[in-house]
Symmetry: D2
Amino acid sequence: MTDMQLGLIGLGKMGGNMRERIRRAGHTVIGYDRNPDVSDVASLAELVDKLEAPRTVWVMVPAGAATQSVIDELGGLLESGDTVVDGGNSRWTDDEKHAAELGERGVGFVDAGVSGGVWGLKNGYALMVGGEKEHVDRLQPIFDALKPEGPYGYVHAGKVGAGHFSKMVHNGIEYAMMQAYAEGWELLEKIDSVENVREVFRSWQEGTVIRSWLLDLAVNALDDDEHLDRLRGYAEDSGEGRWTVEAAIDNAVPLPAITASLFARFASRQEDSPQMKMVAALRNQFGGHAVESAKE
Amino acid sequence: MTDMQLGLIGLGKMGGNMRERIRRAGHTVIGYDRNPDVSDVASLAELVDKLEAPRTVWVMVPAGAATQSVIDELGGLLESGDTVVDGGNSRWTDDEKHAAELGERGVGFVDAGVSGGVWGLKNGYALMVGGEKEHVDRLQPIFDALKPEGPYGYVHAGKVGAGHFSKMVHNGIEYAMMQAYAEGWELLEKIDSVENVREVFRSWQEGTVIRSWLLDLAVNALDDDEHLDRLRGYAEDSGEGRWTVEAAIDNAVPLPAITASLFARFASRQEDSPQMKMVAALRNQFGGHAVESAKE
Amino acid sequence: MTDMQLGLIGLGKMGGNMRERIRRAGHTVIGYDRNPDVSDVASLAELVDKLEAPRTVWVMVPAGAATQSVIDELGGLLESGDTVVDGGNSRWTDDEKHAAELGERGVGFVDAGVSGGVWGLKNGYALMVGGEKEHVDRLQPIFDALKPEGPYGYVHAGKVGAGHFSKMVHNGIEYAMMQAYAEGWELLEKIDSVENVREVFRSWQEGTVIRSWLLDLAVNALDDDEHLDRLRGYAEDSGEGRWTVEAAIDNAVPLPAITASLFARFASRQEDSPQMKMVAALRNQFGGHAVESAKE
Amino acid sequence: MTDMQLGLIGLGKMGGNMRERIRRAGHTVIGYDRNPDVSDVASLAELVDKLEAPRTVWVMVPAGAATQSVIDELGGLLESGDTVVDGGNSRWTDDEKHAAELGERGVGFVDAGVSGGVWGLKNGYALMVGGEKEHVDRLQPIFDALKPEGPYGYVHAGKVGAGHFSKMVHNGIEYAMMQAYAEGWELLEKIDSVENVREVFRSWQEGTVIRSWLLDLAVNALDDDEHLDRLRGYAEDSGEGRWTVEAAIDNAVPLPAITASLFARFASRQEDSPQMKMVAALRNQFGGHAVESAKE
């Protein structure tokens, strides 16, 4: 494997650690961030200048407007033969647009869904990649640097968009798995005869069908706070769960468990449930405080 | 139609009005209630004494222990050829037991699901009846007195248990219909461009697919309190929704909408959601505050 | 009410009946359809020509490309002061685009969700309308002609888009109500002791909480085919259910019952369920035909 | 740890392997099965005879009537101070009855949920145990023999019933996890741009949030049959998923994802969906083939 040169845009928690992991593998990374304290160059233009053609630039900034703005600017700076990777959490439907926009200038486009969080620097990042084979192949040394050791944690999933789509589905599955453990935990906590719910969870870590990394995390959390008394029952969602359900609807695929998990998060963030006010109102109407019918 | 003599046990809101409606139809009702202020007789024994054989006794007390106790006592007082109707909200699985218990003494048993609430006295009660034809036929004059005018509002649904089962399913359907309107209302209220949600609901009362008595009640409720600000999003459930889901599970029938409606009520009654605490805890674990794995 | 002149584009089942109902109310309708057999004019240009300014044109063609094409063409033909109504099943997110496009030329835009189907000609069409007050007011005589008699069946729901949004939510509610009755019916049919399911449904038409027009239709259907033996359990969806769920997701509103109803339709159209193949595959793996772990 | 003597009733796939694993740990097992080819003794009476008091008897037969019959017979054979373990898949609500029945004769009762399937012999069985401490402590050498090595795979979850309850919830969680992967797989398979769904699944086995033993099994299954073409989308359920939902309903705990998973299995086993016939029938009614209302 030859050492490569990579431009990396976005040096936040993820991007910064990825720069470090790629460098440790012997590649050269020129990083750019709006924050000059962490940036290697002063501007995108300087970053592009410092890279030898054909260039490879990895974009690692928030999905949506920020990514669009970087793609647009890169479109004006890069040359035919260069390649851009979007490693952020972009919606897969943006990938084709970005590929087309860059493709008009002869610049290749690869989308990469990246999983790994805070353990990625040490253990590697799982990568799901979409794009044309020639573009993906050029990036292979970088993907190899980032991915975990061993045969897993990397896939060329398909065409442009397939990487982010696979990562999105990964997150949808994650929602339902988290919900599964959460439902089970609540039910166990509710039953008086089950006296050691935390130890039940711990015991499941070997020999059971439901052992998993998420289960390990659940046990960690219960070791910190046995009945989770210090937490509120409030869960954000990051967008990828929503996109998963929308993709399913667009394709007439029923996703009952993943959608139930998403809706449970929505409901958890409501101070009071408007829909349950209406249910309560209808129940009151039965109770006799109402005239016979709204129409009379 | 010959005038009948009926014993009626339980003279609460429902039972009291039913006595009145049956009397207005020209039948004789001897009512018993634990509350002497409303009772016509001092005891069940006196009630049975005053009825000419073959007797017909309508039980209208809370489901469960209260109904069981009355059935047990009647079993000791009635004679072969008499008939008991359970018009309360008993679980249908109790009906066969009660029929068997009374049947050993030659006493017939009919179960009757009753709908109508506060409008029943004026408009009649919808009746869903289960039992042997000979027992049901004997009660027909009473059923005719109670039911609404016209061809609807009464059915001999089938064998013992079929009346309560039908009423239970009626309530399950009611849960999902209430939830349907409630979900739609919440979504409309959420969108800024929809400025007159109450008037949208009102407009639906004619010419639409979703016009219904429940919709009329919803408009009533919105006329009282346009945005339901005076209510909490908190809804009880009465048992019949739960039984509906349990009957479905016993019969491997999927009931996704009815069950979702029941679960929404459960969630509405939680101060904080334990399962969402676990989801939040797992999200925190991703955030890097955790050791790598609970197992290390 | 002064008689109005209206251009009506799209004379299919809905549009043709609407033309008739508006004419019966004394207004002048010039209709255009691609099918010359039903069209009053040969082209959109001729239709616009024949209307006196300020013109009012009602678009009643399929949502999406067909509506877009008509709006585009009208944009080139109409003049400042004219008004366009989109009475088709357009997605509400299209309304703002159409309003902006026409607004640039001074042409007003109103969106109208229309319910009524085959009974609309006789009984009137329920109308949910969005747009600026001045544009809506101009159309009032036409709305009055179309709507059912009496105080219901018409609402000015809010700004542009609010009409189609309200109609969309109407359809979402409709999905869950249909599902509610369907679930109840399946459960009743499954229980041997309930011998007269059709009569149970019929009895519910008076005196119950769940009486509705949809229930009346269900009884109609069961009168035609008591156990629905002549039908397949296969249900299409029309787009508005999907949009309702997507709008809910965009606004973080949980819609469990409506979404369950949509997913049930998706599943009904699958010859075989891919996701259940995976569940079956995992169950097989437990059964011992697998090596210990895919990783070894 | 002293070697123990254990009576083991039920020598099927699970029981036979458990006998072997306990023997390998140095304990004495006297096994009884209705099948004389695998049984060590000719009858339960002989088994009880051969054990020295205080005896320990492990029941490993199908839940329900078979287990009840063995418990009843043991109740007549055992003496005060003996202990019975029910290691089958009994419903937790049976455990208290069995404990009371045996307790009247001074016989202790422990319930044990056992997970492990075909890998249990080699890797150990995960055990979730309920009962009084003194009874559980007596069994500890056997539990230690059966469980996996290391700190996991065994828990004394609480009082009588807590073992089976915990195992039941384990299975409920398992349903939702299987459904989560299955939904994700179906969605990925549906999208053309994702060309290597199997490899996406394989890649997830390291570095992702959703890595698990079930994921490993899914990859195994896809290695056997990449698109699962050889399977039907048909999944049985074993009872424990149903009991989990029923326990949740009894305790007003919302379980949307687990219940959705159960209902998906129910639906997968229907040749045709009755409820979707009703939805189709209602849609037909809209289409104009119906009279206006069932009531006219």
